[in-house]
């Protein structure tokens, strides 16, 4: 099942990146695809992440800073990072304050690529 494959990608990202606690994949309009969460409410996280991504894209466009790389939100207890997965999906990562953000950006690239392929692949095949 591709959902198992998506979940496997999420777990692998959490296990290889120090500080990552929870992750989820959603569509850009905020519907949940798959979540490796513990305390966060997956559906709410998906919806809010989509809103954050949209806001980031629009703000970047408005001020002429070009293509969005990712949205990083920093709170007292950690980070919320939202990556676009292709044009139609997103990956949200929750991590504690010990996270090395630069390392997460590097570690998440291949995950985003593979998630993109998994999601696009299924869409074409069905």
């Amino acid at each position: 099942m591709s959902h198992e494959a998506v979940l496997a990608e999420l777990r692998a990202l959490r296990e290889r990146t120090t500080g990552v606690l929870e992750t989820a994949v959603a569509s850009v309009d905020g519907l949940l695809v798959s979540a490796d969460t513990e305390g966060a409410r997956p559906e709410v996280l998906a919806a809010l992440s989509a809103a954050a991504l949209g806001l980031g894209k629009r703000t970047g466009h408005e001020v002429g800073m070009g293509e969005l790389r990712e949205v990083v939100i920093r709170c007292r207890g950690g980070y919320i990072v939202v990556y676009a997965v292709g044009q139609e999906a997103l990956l949200v990562v929750l991590a504690d304050e010990g996270l090395d953000v630069a390392r997460l950006h590097i570690e998440s690239r291949p995950t985003v690529e593979r998630l993109g392929a998994l999601l696009a692949g299924e869409r074409i095949s069905i």
Partner: protein
């Protein structure tokens, strides 16, 4: 998921072995001490980190592998968020955060020094335990940002290296119990609160040991050192209170899969991404606003404007 149980196979793991003799941080630290080095010692590894030295003494260490002084103070509840924010705003820009915390009576000077000291020892231990590939020095530059909570005057590298070696030796013994940095311990949450105050810390660890968190994750969530948490886990694993090599330890609680309620039976479009359908959003059920249902005050309240009540029919 691959390799999640590498270190549960026994006392001889195939990953970076945490043996005291092979730790390259110790010799690098001693060299820095001899040269009275000022600057950063960059530790390459997974996750690696940096050790900050001044005149050959270690004043701070930062790594993703262990909580820093800020996490230790805030997560443990020793310092409140409001107090921290006030002291940070007042002191951090001029490098006086520690002084502000003490002068405002937020924490005692001895307590603060202990936390900063603990954080450095813990960071170096955690970096060494997680595996170090190389160490490189980077001399201090005038525009470098100094650590916000340094140990003053600093820790002699010999003492730090000696203590790290002792801790690594203890960690090697924990491997026999199956406890390593990658362990994700699983415990049945204790149903009753601890009777003795001394049991509270073990109790807290048991509550956090849900099969997802590594010792480092538990240390962050409780605002305690990784070494302390690992020794607690090792003790409790020895007593059988914790399961440290749970099969499929990355599994529970299982990840969530989206319910496919939004597919609404349209199998031809059963793509991986769920799709929103026009008119299914609950927001559209809100009746459209009428003139009668509008609030009598104008909505834009933030700007300085005429505060008189609008006349009838004046709105919009």
């Amino acid at each position: 998921m691959n390799g999640q149980n590498l270190d549960s196979s026994g006392p001889t793991p195939t990953g970076p072995a945490p043996t005291a003799g092979a730790d390259p941080i110790g010799p690098a630290l001693l060299r820095c001490g001899q040269e009275r080095f000022s600057g950063l010692l960059r530790v390459e590894g997974s996750p690696g980190g940096t050790i900050c030295l001044r005149q050959g003494l270690v004043i701070a260490a930062t790594t993703a592998a262990s909580p820093g002084p800020e996490s230790l103070l805030l997560r443990s509840g020793r310092v409140s968020e409001a107090d921290w924010t006030t002291a940070y705003a007042a002191g951090a820009p001029s490098g006086r955060l520690a002084a502000e915390l003490v002068e405002r009576g937020i924490i005692g000077i001895a307590g603060l020094e202990t936390v900063c000291l603990t954080a450095v020892f813990d960071a170096v231990f955690a970096m060494a335990l997680c595996g170090v590939e190389a160490c490189e020095t980077e001399p201090a530059r005038p525009d470098d940002l100094l650590p916000s909570l340094p140990v003053t005057p600093g820790i002699p590298p010999e003492r730090l290296a000696r203590e790290t070696a002792r801790r690594l030796a203890a960690a090697t013994a924990w491997l026999d119990l199956g406890v390593s940095t990658r362990t994700r311990p699983l415990a049945v949450p204790p149903s009753t609160p601890p009777l003795l105050q001394a049991e509270e810390s073990r109790h807290a660890v048991l509550l956090k040991a849900n099969g997802r968190r590594t010792p480092r994750d538990i240390a962050f969530s409780l605002g305690r050192g990784v070494f302390a948490i690992m020794s607690e886990i090792a003790r409790m694993a020895g007593e059988g209170l914790l399961e440290v090599d749970a099969p499929g330890s990355a599994g529970p609680p299982a990840g969530r899969r989206a319910t496919r309620q939004d597919a609404s039976g349209d199998s031809s479009k059963a793509a991986s991404l769920p799709q929103r359908h026009r008119g299914t959003n609950k927001v559209s059920e809100v009746p459209p606003a009428t003139a009668a249902s509008r609030p009598s005050l104008p909505r834009r309240l933030l700007g300085i404007r005429n505060v008189q009540e609008p006349m009838a029919g004046e709105e919009d």
